[in-house]
C-alpha cells in the first residue's frame, strides 16, 4: 500500500537532492515561489477545498446531519436511499449518511496524527543522523533499518494483533491512538531516510561549507541553513503520506484489526457490509466513496506540493 510509493519517491527525492545540491541554496525563493505556484493551481486548490470540507465535517459533524449515527432500527435494515435518509440504512438499520459524516473524524485524526508523529520522530532522527555523521549516524541508521525491515502490512497485522486487547476499556480515543501509534511506528523510518539524505546533501553543499569557513556557529548553521533546506523533502513526504495513511487505516480496519466500534470508521463499514453487496450496495458504496475522495484529495495536494517544491520539475 502506501509504503512502496513513498519508498520510491524518497529514493527519487534523494537523487534530486544529491544531484542538485546547488538548488538548496535558493531556499527562500523556493518556499515563496512554491506557495505562489500552489495558489494558482486548480489541482491544488480543488483538493484543498475538499479536504477543508472534510476537516469541517470532522470537527463539526453535527452541522451536517441531525441523525444519530448510533440509533438503530432493525426494521429499516438495508433500506435504500430515500428523502428521509439520503444514503439509506445499514444492516443494523442505522443512517448511512450520518455514519459516513461521523466516520470522517477518526479517519482524518488517525491519518494526520500518525503522519505528524512519524514526521516529527522520523525527521528528528534523520536530521540528527545526517548532521552528526560518524558512529551516531551508523547507530541510528541500523536502528532505522530494523524497523524498515518490517513490511508495512505484515508489520501492522502482527503488531495490531498483538496489541488488540480490549479488556482495559480504552474507549474510542484509545482505539484511535493505538492505530495511530502503530502506523506512526511503521511510518517513521521512511521519513528518517529522507531527512537524513536531505541533511547530508545540504551539509555538503558549498554555501554551508562557506558559512562554516566564515566561522558561523553550529547552532546558526543548523537553524539558518540546514533545517530550512532539509525541510522541503520532509514536508513533501508528509503531505503525500496523509492520503496513503488514511487509505492504509481503512485497509487495517477492513481486516478487523484497525479501528473498531465504538469508533465509527469507513473501513469497518465497508468490511461489515461487503458481504451484503448482492443485496444492497449503498452501505458500502457511500463510505467507500467518501474514503476515496478524501484519499485522492490528500494525494493530489501532496502531489502538487511535491511539484511546487521539487526544483527539477519546475
Amino acid at each position: 500500500m502506501s509504503d512502496p510509493q513513498i519508498a520510491a519517491m524518497s529514493r527519487h527525492e534523494d537523487e534530486d537532492r544529491s544531484a542538485h545540491p546547488e538548488m538548496t541554496g535558493q531556499v527562500r525563493s523556493l518556499w515563496s515561489d512554491a506557495w505562489h505556484d500552489l495558489l494558482r493551481k486548480p489541482s491544488f486548490l480543488i483538493p484543498l477545498v475538499i479536504v477543508g470540507l472534510f476537516v469541517l465535517i470532522a470537527i463539526f459533524p453535527g452541522l451536517f446531519t441531525n441523525a444519530d449515527p448510533e440509533y438503530a432500527e432493525l426494521s429499516k435494515s438495508m433500506q435504500g436511499p430515500s428523502a428521509e435518509a439520503w444514503f439509506g440504512y445499514d444492516l443494523q438499520g442505522r443512517d448511512v449518511f450520518a455514519r459516513t459524516i461521523y466516520g470522517a473524524r477518526p479517519s482524518i485524526i488517525v491519518g494526520t496524527l500518525a503522519v505528524l508523529l512519524a514526521t516529527l520522530f522520523g525527521g528528528l532522527i534523520g536530521i540528527i543522523a545526517g548532521y552528526a555523521g560518524g558512529w551516531i549516524d551508523s547507530l541510528l541508521s541500523r536502528f532505522t533499518e530494523i524497523f524498515l525491515g518490517l513490511p508495512y502490512v505484515l508489520g501492522a497485522i502482527i503488531i495490531l494483533s498483538a496489541l488488540a486487547n480490549t479488556r482495559s476499556g480504552i474507549g474510542s480515543f484509545g482505539i484511535m491512538m493505538i492505530v495511530t501509534l502503530v502506523m506512526a511506528l511503521l511510518g517513521w523510518p521512511l521519513v528518517t531516510r529522507i531527512a537524513r539524505s536531505a541533511m547530508l546533501a545540504v551539509k555538503h553543499s558549498d554555501y554551508v561549507q562557506a558559512a562554516r569557513g566564515l566561522g558561523a556557529s553550529p547552532v546558526r548553521i543548523v537553524f539558518k541553513h540546514l533545517l530550512p533546506n532539509a525541510l522541503a523533502p520532509i514536508i513533501v513526504i508528509a503531505t503525500i503520506s496523509v492520503g496513503t495513511f488514511i487509505s492504509a487505516e481503512a485497509v487495517l480496519s477492513f481486516l478487523g484489526i484497525g479501528l473498531r466500534p465504538p469508533v465509527i470508521s469507513w473501513g469497518v463499514a465497508i468490511a461489515d457490509h461487503q458481504n451484503l453487496m448482492r443485496q444492497a450496495a449503498h452501505p458500502v458504496l457511500f463510505p467507500a466513496a467518501a474514503l476515496t475522495v478524501v484519499v485522492i484529495a490528500f494525494v493530489m495536494i501532496g502531489d502538487a506540493v511535491r511539484e511546487a517544491l521539487d526544483p527539477k520539475l519546475r
Binding site: Q92, T166, G256, R278
Partner: protein, 558 residues
Amino acid sequence: MRRSRKISAVALLAGSALVLSACGGGGEAGDDGDSQGGVQGGTVVYGACQPQNPLVPGDTNETCGGRVIDALFVAPMMYDPETAEPVPGVAESIETEDNQTFTVNLKEGWKFHDGEEVTADNFVKAWNYTAYGPNGLQQAYWFEQFEGFEDLQCPDEKCKQEPKAKEMSGLEVVDDHTFTITTTQPFSVLPNKLGYSAFAPLPDSFFEDPKAFGRKPVGNGAFKFVEWNDNQNIKVEKFADYPGTDSHPKPSIDAIDFKMYGDLDAEYQDLLAGNVDYSYQIPTSALAGEQWKADLGERAVSQPQGANQTVTWAAYHEDYSGPGAVEFRKAVSRAIDRQAIADTIFHGARAPSDGWVSPVVEGYKEGGQCGDLCQFDKDAANDLLAESEEKGYTPPKEIPFYYNADGDHKAWSEAMANSINQTLEGDFEVVAKPYPTFAEMRSDITEKKMDGFFRTGWLMDYPHIENFMNPLYKTNASANDAFYSNKELDEKLEAADAASSSEEAIQLYQEAEATLAEDMTSIPVVDYTTNAGYSEKLTNVTVTPFGWLDIYNVQVTG
C-alpha cells in the same frame, strides 16, 4: 481476514466438542447401499478447512479435523444420518443393568486400513492413551466418568511426576470382541456418548509412532487416508474392507477430497462453479436477500442444527448480583428482539431460541422451556426493569457485552445491544465490545474475569439433552461459564444421570432445564440452522443434524 474469522467461529463454536456423526443412511437400507441403482464411484469435493491438530481422534476437538476423522474412524456407536439417533457402529450391542457397568460387544470382521483386525484391545488401549494425562490429548475429559480416570492424571501442575496408573481401572477386556466399561457413578446416556469420535479405536501402528500417525492416520472407517496437503486439501478413498452397517452402508462414492478454503465466499463461489460438491456453510453474502436459494434452487438445504447461541452473565461480579439482578437479567432477555435478529442479521440462518436445548436433540421439549422470558416485549421488559429497581438493583452505566471478533458475531452482537438499549428505558447502555480472538475471550471467561455479559455458544457433541446440561450448568462443570451453582439443578442432573430408563432420564433433564429460567444467568438467543448447498453432481443427498453430508449414501453422477 474474514475467511479465517468465520472458520474459527465455526470451528471453535462449541468449544470442545464436536460430534462426528457421519453415520448414515437411515432410510436407505440394503446391504450394498446403492440399492437404488445409483451410480457407483466418483469423488466428492467437500468444502473444508485445515485441521488444527494431528488427525488422531482423541486429539481432534474442532470441526475442520473432525470432519476428516469422521470419514476415517468409526466408534462403537454411530448417529443416524437423518435423526441423529444412536445406532450401532463397531459395537454389536452395549448392555448394562445398573447404568454403571456397560458391556460392549464388538462386531467381527472390522479391519483397520492397514489390515489389522479391530479388537477390544484397540479400544481399550486407545482410550487409555487418550485419557493418560502426560499425553496431553485434547479429548481426555471424555473419559472423566470412567473409573480410574483420576489415577491417569498428573499429580502436579507441570506433570513432573508420573500419574499413579497408566490404565483406567474401569476398562476391562473380556475377550477379543468384548470389553466392559465401569463409570464412577450411574450414567444412563453413556451409550449415546459412545458415538463420538473420541471413542474410536486405534491400530497398533499408532502406538509405535503417534506423531507420524497424526500426519498419516490409519482408521477403521469407510474411507482411508491418502494424502494431506496443508492448507490445500486432504484426500481419502473408499476402504474396500469396510463392512458397512444398516444405517451406514458401504459408500457409493470412491473418494472424498476435503478442499480447504480460507474464505466462505470463495468456497461458495466454487460451489456455484461446480468446483466444490458440498458446502456446509453458506456465506452471509449469499444468505442476504435469500440469494443462495435463487442460486442453488433445490440444492439449497436448510434444516435445524444441534447448536445454539446464548449469552451468559458474569453473575459473580458485584455489578450483576444482589437483589433485583435476576429481574434485570429477565428484563434484558425480554428486550432482545430475537425474531428480528434472526431474520435481519442472519437472514434465516438462525431461529429464535425458546429454551436452552437445541430442538434437534433427544429430550428437547416442544415449545421450549424459556417461555415468555424469551419473548420480545417492550412493556413487559420495562416492567421487569422497574421491578428490579424496586428491589434495589442499579445496573452500571455501561454494561459491556463481549464477543470474539474472529467469529462472525459482530453484527448480531451489535444488533442485540441496540435492541436492548432501545427497548429498556433506564440510565445505562449496553456496549458490544469485541475480543480480538476467541482464545483471549475464553481465557478471561475461564479465569472469571468478566465484567458484563458475553456470548457463549454450544455445538452438541452428541444429540442428547444431557450434552446441553451437564457440561454447561452443573456446578463446576467444564464449560459452566457463569460459574453458576444451583443445588436443585445439580440434584436433578445427578438423578437424571442415574436414571434407570431413558425416558426417566429425559424427564429429569427437562426438569433441570426448567430451573434455568429462575436465574437467567444464561439467556438463550438463537438456534443454529444448517444452511448447506451441494453441486449438481450429487444425488441422494442427506444432511445430518450435525450439518454434515451423509457420505455413505450420497452418489455422484455426471
